[in-house]
Every structure is written in C-alpha cells, then in structure tokens.
C-alpha cells in the first residue's frame, strides 16, 4: 500500500459508447502507440429458471476495490511494455445490453496488448470486491457469480 490515494475507477451507471469513442480519440496524439486492445463487459439478458435478467445492480467495497485496481494497474505496467492503461467499472444499475466494464491498453507493439489485456481482465474478475445483483423482469433478484 502506498500513501497516495488510488484513482477512482468507478462510474455511476452504464459506460456509454460515446465515452469509449472519446477515449480512443484521445490516444491519437500518442504516436508511439501501434496497437490498442479494448475489453468491454456487457450485461447479458440471461434466462434463469424461466426469468430474464433485465439489469445488474453493482455495488463495491469501493476503497478496497480502487486499491486493488491500482495494484493490478501497477503490476501490469511492470509485466508488460504498455504506453497507457485505463480501467472503468460501473456502479449502480446497468441494463441488459449496456456496458459495465471498459479496459483499454495501448502499446507500441501488438503482441504485448493481447497478453496484458487478458491478464488485467482476469485479475479484475478474481481480485476486485465488486458485487453484481442480477435483477429479473419480476423485480426478484439473485447475486451473480463469476465463472
């Protein structure tokens, strides 16, 4: 743990496609970059016991989660030759079809970005205390478990 407060990764509600487009545009001044790789998590309308998921409501142990996101980011910069890395995760209600996770890595070389992105996404799934409540059409719910 360091003294500096980690960056806040969380955004209220869904992550918009415009926001993602703008993030991409911002990297066009960085002309040492040759390859970007972007992961987007999208809420699925799964059917469970005959009922359809209409949204996931995300909560998090925010301080610990931001510290973990920070650790993952630091480790990824040590392990891989990355120029940039950005992570955004939703809090609150994200409807089926909307985006709840946006991970963006950039590097001079393409081989690096594939390995880095998969590493970061798997670490997020395993290490970060975020909790998804799957809300069904009849307002009942269940707590999501990651595979």
């Amino acid at each position: 743990m360091t003294d500096k407060k980690p960056k806040n990764v969380f955004k209220q509600g869904a992550i918009s496609s415009e926001f993602i487009g703008e993030s991409i545009a911002k990297h066009q001044t960085k002309t040492s970059i040759g390859a970007h790789n972007i992961f987007l998590g999208q809420v699925r309308a799964d059917v469970i016991d005959g009922k359809t998921v209409t949204a996931i409501e995300y909560t998090a142990y925010e301080d610990m989660a931001n510290a973990k996101f920070d650790e993952i980011r630091e480790t990824a910069f040590e392990k891989f030759e990355l120029t940039c890395m950005h992570i955004y995760h939703s809090l609150g209600v994200v409807k089926a079809g909307e985006i709840c996770l946006f991970v963006f890595v950039s590097s001079p070389k393409r081989k690096v970005v594939f390995k880095a992105l998969e590493y970061i996404v798997e670490e997020i799934k395993a290490q970060v205390p975020v909790f998804g409540k799957e809300i069904f059409e009849d307002d009942s719910h269940q707590w999501k478990k990651n595979m």
Binding site: D63, P129, V130
Partner: protein, 77 residues
C-alpha cells in the same frame, strides 16, 4: 474493544445492514466469526471471505481492529 464491520451483497442481506459496530473481546478472525454466527445463524451457510484493512485474511489472523469486511464472491465485470 468496539470494532466496525462492513457487509456487502448477499451478506448484507443476511445481516440486514451494510455496517455495524460491535463490542468484541476475542483475538482472532475465527473468534469474530463465531460471534457473528451466533448473531446471524444464516451466515454459516454462506460463501464469503473476510478482509481486514482492505486485504483478505484467514480465520487465524489476529484482529487489529482496523476496517473489517465480510465479502461474498466477487462478480465484477
């Protein structure tokens, strides 16, 4: 000592609150869990991990009194 425990997700549904302070005299995480199991019998059947000072700890860890939290399985992304 008085310690504060945070609850999340399914665990907060079992305890019916997101945070509470209790007067606690045990030494280890396992002692705290026994106290909580007595108070919330349904907790025993639930899958969760314990964090102290924002790091996951085992049942044999000593309680320092800093931030404690009961965390159900993570399901981010």
């Amino acid at each position: 000592m008085i310690i504060t425990i945070k609850y999340f997700g399914l665990i907060a549904e079992v305890t019916n609150q997101s945070e509470e302070s209790i007067d606690f005299s045990g030494r280890l995480i396992s002692d705290l869990l026994n106290t909580l199991y007595a108070k919330y019998p349904d907790l025993k059947n639930k899958d969760f991990q314990v964090a102290q000072n924002q790091e996951l700890v085992s049942e044999s860890t000593e309680i320092t009194g800093q931030e404690l939290a009961l965390l159900p399985p993570f399901s981010g992304g």
